[in-house]
């Protein structure tokens, strides 16, 4: 950790304006009295986008394509949560090759998202660079490797999803079209390269300088006994939670807070909780492939990690897993006769939850007998992590009051990026104004 200025004893306010791009903006305000942080507000000004209302009155078949538009980097997560929720309402079970292809598509999204975050957004801050362009001046080969690795993820989504961003090939019951074995062949060799590149990257990011910063978090993720979780399983935590997806709203609820346009999600009994790669890893280590476990070891991780700064290593372990799993799926692929299973609408409520790159994404739909959406509920991972981000910022600032403004700003940015929230896209997005009282 950098910074050696004297401990501030006067009351002060750290005011951080978050300069977002077109889609929204936020801010951080920290109040300190004496040596104590008295208030932290991580504010998100992202305007409400009203997708839940937008879905009302739409046919069930439109949900995957409409919800995919919520995010440009994790549209597959929205599609997968949507189709599973609607299939749950209709009593449809998707299995076999179509289920496996859904996992393959999700692997593509994890690779894209994790590699972008690790190389372009997170690593520069650890090494003292303002952005990936400056990082590339000193580490050109690493950045080239990152770009090529991300492209492999893009290629999976492009082939199976129909296009790289906002894929169009996903439907309730399966796909509009499934690729032939021959179409997958060129991807196989590239994935083998990507698997090696992800292993190298895991080792590389394992050498980054991580602050000592651990906490007794409640991690929440999907858990499936037979596989690393993507689309199915039960919701579990390291503190005893173990529920069906349909019971999500019995345990979790969203509330509006005055300083954020994104709803804060909490557990009704336990308060704040932590979702994302670190939660998945800690709750599903045994379900990783042997190669992914080997990567974790090479990156310096044990079976459990409570330092959110090390989430960058976990993202790369999951990238190794995604490449490894994708290779396995393609090598064993037998093109199904039909691209989808039959779907018959019926009135009811359905629940779906999948593991978006940055954590659990919950969908609930109430449909009428014709399959028209009467009501929708969508809870993205970023809203679930907001409270824990504020909590981390509070503890981090409290334990690093000796840092000067510039260093504290940089470190606060990294604290936020640990969670890869949807506002962390701007590489250099915090501006710190310190008001001395």
């Amino acid at each position: 950790m950098k910074g050696n200025s004297a401990v501030q004893t006067k009351p002060r306010t750290l005011k951080v304006d978050l300069l977002a791009r077109v889609e929204g903006e936020g801010a951080l305000q920290v109040k300190v009295k004496g040596d104590t942080v008295t208030d932290v507000k991580f504010r998100i000004f992202e305007p409400p986008r009203l997708f839940e209302a937008f879905l009302r009155g739409r046919a069930y078949g439109e949900a995957p394509d409409i919800t995919a538009r919520i995010c440009g980097i994790c549209p597959v997560a929205y599609q997968m949560s949507a189709v599973h929720a609607i299939e749950n309402a209709f009593g449809v079970k998707v299995d076999g090759a179509i289920r496996t292809l859904r996992r393959l598509l999700y692997c593509g999204e994890w690779i894209e998202s994790h590699v972008l975050h690790a190389y372009m957004l997170h690593t520069p801050g650890f090494l003292g660079y303002p952005d990936a362009i400056q990082l590339a001046r000193d580490y050109p080969d690493a950045v080239k490797r990152g770009l090529a690795l991300k492209k492999v993820g893009n290629d999976i989504v492009n082939l199976l999803g129909g296009r790289e961003i906002h894929p169009i090939n996903v439907r309730v019951g399966g796909f509009y079209r499934v690729p032939t074995r021959r179409e997958f062949e060129p991807l196989l060799e590239r994935l083998k390269w990507a698997r090696d590149a992800a292993m190298e990257t895991t080792e590389w990011v394992g050498t980054l300088p991580f602050p000592s910063f651990e906490y007794d978090y409640e991690f929440v993720a999907l858990h499936h006994p037979d596989e690393y979780p993507l689309c199915e399983g039960r919701l579990v935590s390291n503190k005893g939670l173990d529920i069906a997806i349909a019971d999500y709203e019995q345990i979790f609820h969203e509330e509006h807070v005055a300083h954020s346009n994104a709803l804060h999600s909490t557990m009704r009994q336990g308060g704040k909780y932590f979702v994302g790669p670190l939660a998945r890893y800690n709750l599903n280590y045994e379900q990783l492939s042997p190669l992914a476990k080997q990567a974790a070891k090479a990156g310096g991780l044990g079976a459990f990690c409570a330092n959110p700064f090390k989430s960058i290593i976990v993202r790369m372990v999951e990238t190794v897993y995604a490449c490894d799993h994708a290779i396995q799926i393609i090598e064993n692929y037998q093109q199904p006769r039909e691209a989808m299973v039959a779907v018959q609408p019926r009135a009811g409520t359905g629940y779906g939850c999948s593991e978006a790159p940055r954590g659990i994404l919950y969908h609930r739909y109430r449909l009428d007998s014709a399959g028209m959406i009467q009501d929708a509920r969508i809870v993205p991972p970023t809203s679930q992590n907001q409270k824990i981000i504020e909590d981390d910022l509070r503890r981090f600032v409290q334990s690093h009051l000796e840092l000067n403004d510039a260093d504290l700003t940089l470190q606060c940015e990294q604290v936020i990026r640990n969670y890869d929230p949807c506002i962390s896209c701007a590489t250099h997005f915090l501006k710190l104004d310190r008001e001395r009282l």
């Binding site: 791009r21 440009g72 990936a132 050109p140 090529a148 492209k151 949807c422």
Partner: protein
């Protein structure tokens, strides 16, 4: 005509987001014109894919057309020689998590894989609502940019 004489035109944007589809609309006009020696492609503007596209699609000149948000009146057209200087940040910078084309250009410049001639046209947009169409001023600008690119391709000396 070999690859070294090929011109590559890349329309950037999202056709479902109003004026963000300006680059795509211009590219489609140029594709429909079927100009010999001109290859036309559409792209989201995602940095890694764009850099790979530049590397894997040989061309002596690359034209990119994108929506721009700079505060200028709607439909204002700007032309940048991106191989000579950085692009302004308002090009394709509107999406969370995605690096825009300005960053793609600078990353490629550092990594020494920028096209030797990269001309970028920016069309100032004002309406980016989901499922909206091009605004009137932008639709007119799209026609104008397509005509200008066609002119530059057919008379490269005049474009210098």
């Amino acid at each position: 005509m070999d690859d070294t004489e090929t011109r590559l035109v890349i329309g950037i944007g999202n056709p479902d987001r109003g004026d963000d589809g300006a680059g795509i609309a211009a590219a489609r006009l140029l594709a429909a014109a079927a100009i010999p020696g001109v290859r036309v492609m559409e792209h989201s503007g995602e940095a890694a894919g764009l850099i790979e596209l530049w590397q894997t699609t040989p061309a002596c000149v690359v034209y990119m057309i994108d929506a721009l948000v700079s505060g200028a009146p709607s439909g204002t057209i700007k032309r940048f020689a991106a191989h000579l200087q950085p692009l302004p940040a308002g090009l394709s910078g509107g999406s969370t998590h995605l690096l825009g084309i300005a960053q793609a250009v600078e990353l490629a410049r550092v990594l020494e894989c920028l096209p030797s001639q990269l001309i970028v046209f920016g069309i100032e947009g004002t309406r980016f609502d989901f499922q909206s169409s091009l605004s009137e001023a932008v639709a007119a600008a799209v026609q104008q940019v397509a005509a200008q690119v066609q002119s530059e391709v057919l008379e490269p000396e005049a474009a210098q």
